[in-house]
């Protein structure tokens, strides 16, 4: 049966013993991963078919995730939701890194840089700079609050209308996280089909099984320890190929420093070929090409193609997109809840530092991938006779990621005759660098780890939003612990199956929605959590008006600009729609709060307590303050 979820802080000796044990386990795991790769490499040279090497990697990694999941089986609510709040800062940093970096970061980021050049650096800066806001303005206070979910925070802080605030926040969390998880499942299917030769649909379900064994049994506790292992796999897999490529192309195995040479070579090659400069900023025109593709795929009549070039050369879109991505980062529920899992607000502060350090390792490397492969393409592919292209191109032409079409029939490949799908940049690097298939399989395992770890975290947010926030807090506050567990586990299953079904048609729109998730999070949670922490006068009326108004403003600009790019302010695209949602949310939150009665005294006292970085929060017990139940019961004691 389920146990009462009392939180018992560890002593210092216990904490350092725990840390030592973790370091030992994960250190051993890292050595094992390297040895495993070496053994497979030797077997490959001895003639083991590549298909088996691929299977060995999927089997090993999925078995490992299942093992960690079973090891962390739990019957305690606080372990299931927040890993017992005893994850050390350093390891929470790794887990956050894996939680954060999805299939998109691992595979598509370098490709986006390849295609957009300087303009894609908005993603690099936005997805790292957001952690500064998270550290300075959110993480320690979220930890001090010490609840289970982000709707918990919203409902407790805006306790005058706890039910409504919780419901609106839970719905926002579900919208943001569900679309995101659908994209991860799509990523899993693509990796499975591309590398391991499985059918896309089979790949989706095999991958999903990998997610479920882990989150189903142990919730946040097993997700956390799996994510640490997944981070180790993904960062190893990301750094190895590009390091070899750097050594091959420049003689120095330090890609982050040496891709400067690639950039200057690219610039020279571009000049001789009369191409647009890769490093030149603000080249993007506004267009509705992706709306047209999505409309066609769903079967609707697509809008007329429109391209707006008026704003090319202005920095507004770059700056706005950076801000949206930063605020969205700080407002994403699956990242915020990671800081519930550390032992104290002080650990939370350090933990964000480690999180960003581990993310930085990948993000500082992604532009190197893009630059080296662009150099390779401009030097050895473009301008060559089509009959004698480098060997690595052949296998990627077969997959359709690389298309060449000798439009003018001169037998020479021009740049305009080459089409590249961005994902090829990371996927083909092992081959370009002349590495064995074992490394390519390691890269696939890394991409799989990135997609699965993010899917784990997101599924937990979706299922807790329903099982904890909507069911246990609103519909049936008297539900027993075992019943809540049952509902949580059923919800994970339902959410996973729904995500798989949503991923099956492979809609282009899903990738679009993920890009929008940041704007949506920035428009809903960012202002409400920020002012909830720092402005006592903010009240429930303001928060609810702000979240709803922010969501509407964001969606209106997004959809309007997506369909017709002539609908724009300063040339901002639908990707930056969060600017308008955030502004609407802040304005409504401030104006409505000031126009209505201040939050009651007990809530203002709560905000005072938030500022003290030691000890656990003391929240008023249900019934102590009129009208507070069911929102403000302290986690674990209700």
């Amino acid at each position: 049966m389920a146990q009462e979820a009392g939180y018992t802080p560890l002593t210092r000796a216990q904490i350092s013993e725990f840390r030592r044990r973790l370091a030992k386990y994960y250190g051993a795991f890292f050595i094992f991963l390297i040895l495993f790769t070496l053994v497979l490499f030797l077997l490959e040279r001895a003639g083991l078919p590549t298909r088996f090497i691929g299977y060995a990697f999927i089997f090993l990694t999925l078995a490992l995730y299942a093992f960690i999941g079973i090891l962390n089986f739990t019957r305690r609510l606080d372990e299931y939701y927040v890993a017992g709040r005893r994850v050390p800062a350093f390891f929470n940093g790794m887990a956050t890194g894996a939680d954060w970096m999805s299939a998109a970061s691992f595979i598509s980021m370098a490709g986006t840089l390849w295609l957009l050049g300087y303009d894609a650096l908005a993603y690099i800066m936005g997805w790292t700079g957001g952690y500064v806001l998270l550290a300075l303005l959110f993480a320690p206070y979220i930890r001090k609050f010490g609840q289970f979910t982000i709707p918990d925070f919203v409902a407790t802080r805006y306790g005058e209308r706890a039910r409504l605030a919780r419901l609106v926040a839970a719905i926002c969390a579900i919208i943001v996280s569900f679309t995101y998880v659908t994209a991860q499942v799509t990523g899993v299917g693509i990796i499975m089909s591309r590398f391991f030769g499985l059918d896309y649909r089979v790949g989706v379900f095999v991958g999903l099984a990998g997610v479920l064994v882990c989150s189903f049994l142990g919730g946040m506790k097993s997700i956390t320890w799996t994510q640490v292992a997944q981070y180790i796999i993904l960062i190893t897999a990301y750094l190895i190929p590009v390091t070899f490529l750097s050594a091959k192309l420049t003689g120095v195995p330090f890609p982050q420093l040496m891709y400067g040479r690639a950039l200057s070579e690219i610039t020279q090659l571009e000049q001789t070929m009369n191409l647009a400069s890769y490093v030149q900023p603000f080249k993007q025109a506004l267009s509705n090409a992706s709306a047209i593709a999505s409309f066609k795929q769903i079967g609707l009549t697509p809008p007329e193609p429109i391209t707006v070039k008026d704003w090319v050369g202005t920095p507004w879109e770059f700056l706005a997109l950076t801000l949206c991505l930063m605020a969205g980062t700080a407002g994403l529920p699956h990242i915020l809840i990671r800081y519930y899992t550390v032992p104290s607000p002080k650990e939370a502060r350090i933990s964000v530092g480690w999180s960003l350090f581990f993310i930085w390792l990948l993000y500082v490397t992604a532009p190197a991938y893009a630059a080296f492969s662009r150099w390779e393409v401009l030097k050895n592919v473009v301008g060559q006779p089509i009959a004698s292209l480098p060997a690595w191109t052949a296998s990627w032409i077969k997959t359709g990621l690389l298309t060449i079409n000798d439009a003018n029939g001169d037998g020479i490949l021009q740049f305009s005759e080459l089409r590249i799908v961005g994902d090829i940049v990371v996927l083909a690097t092992p081959e370009i660098a002349g590495l064995p298939f074992t490394i390519a399989a390691l890269v696939a395992a890394g991409g799989l780890a990135a997609a699965l770890s993010t899917a784990d975290g997101l599924l937990l947010v979706v299922s807790t939003a329903v099982a904890h926030d909507i069911y246990a807090k609103i519909i049936n506050p008297n539900a027993s612990y075992s019943r809540r567990f049952l509902v949580s586990r059923i919800m994970i299953l339902i959410a996973a199956v729904l995500a798989a079904l949503a991923a099956l048609p492979r809609l282009a729109l899903i990738v679009q929605i993920v890009a929008w998730a940041f704007s949506l999070a920035a428009s809903t949670f960012f202002p409400v959590v920020l002012l909830g922490i720092f402005w006592k006068r903010a009240n429930a009326n303001g928060a609810i008006a702000g979240m709803i108004g922010g969501l509407i403003a964001c969606v209106v600009y997004m959809v309007g600009n997506y369909i017709d790019p002539r609908f724009n302010v300063l040339g901002l695209s639908h990707l930056s729609a969060g600017i308008f949602g955030m502004a609407a949310n802040f304005i409504l939150l401030i104006v409505v709060s000031l126009a209505t009665a201040p939050a009651p005294k007990y809530i203002q006292d709560m905000v005072d307590q938030l500022r003290i970085p030691v000890g656990e929060m003391r929240l008023p017990a249900p019934g102590a303050a009129p009208g507070t139940a069911p929102g403000v019961a302290p986690a674990g004691q209700d």
């Binding site: 650096l121 500064v132 320690p140 400067g260 502060r349 350090i350 532009p367």
Partner: protein, 93 residues
């Protein structure tokens, strides 16, 4: 912490002011490294540094994001080891 008597209120306010000073300083740096260089990236790119990076590209792809990591550690270490200590907010065994 037990309940907050009146003498503690003044202490808490001083703590909060000092904490804001640190946060605002770091946020100013964050703002500067995020927003001041991209508008001039085209001109900055004419300058080459290190192994041949165009300066504008390098600032966005390496400099700014490295500053972010440093800012967070400065914040965390200053709060935990200096400001919290000064006001007696330390973890008990």
């Amino acid at each position: 912490m037990a309940s907050t008597p009146v003498s503690d209120t003044a202490k808490l306010e001083a703590y909060w002011r000092e904490h804001w000073r640190l946060i605002l300083t770091l946020l100013v740096i964050w703002f500067a490294v995020t927003y001041l260089h991209p508008p001039f990236a085209a001109s900055l790119n004419k300058i080459k540094i290190l192994t041949g990076f165009p300066l504008g590209y390098w600032l966005s792809s390496q400099f700014s994001i490295t500053v972010y990591v440093i800012l967070i550690f400065i914040y965390a270490l200053t709060m935990n080891n200096v400001i919290d200590k000064k006001y007696g907010f330390e973890e008990k065994e």
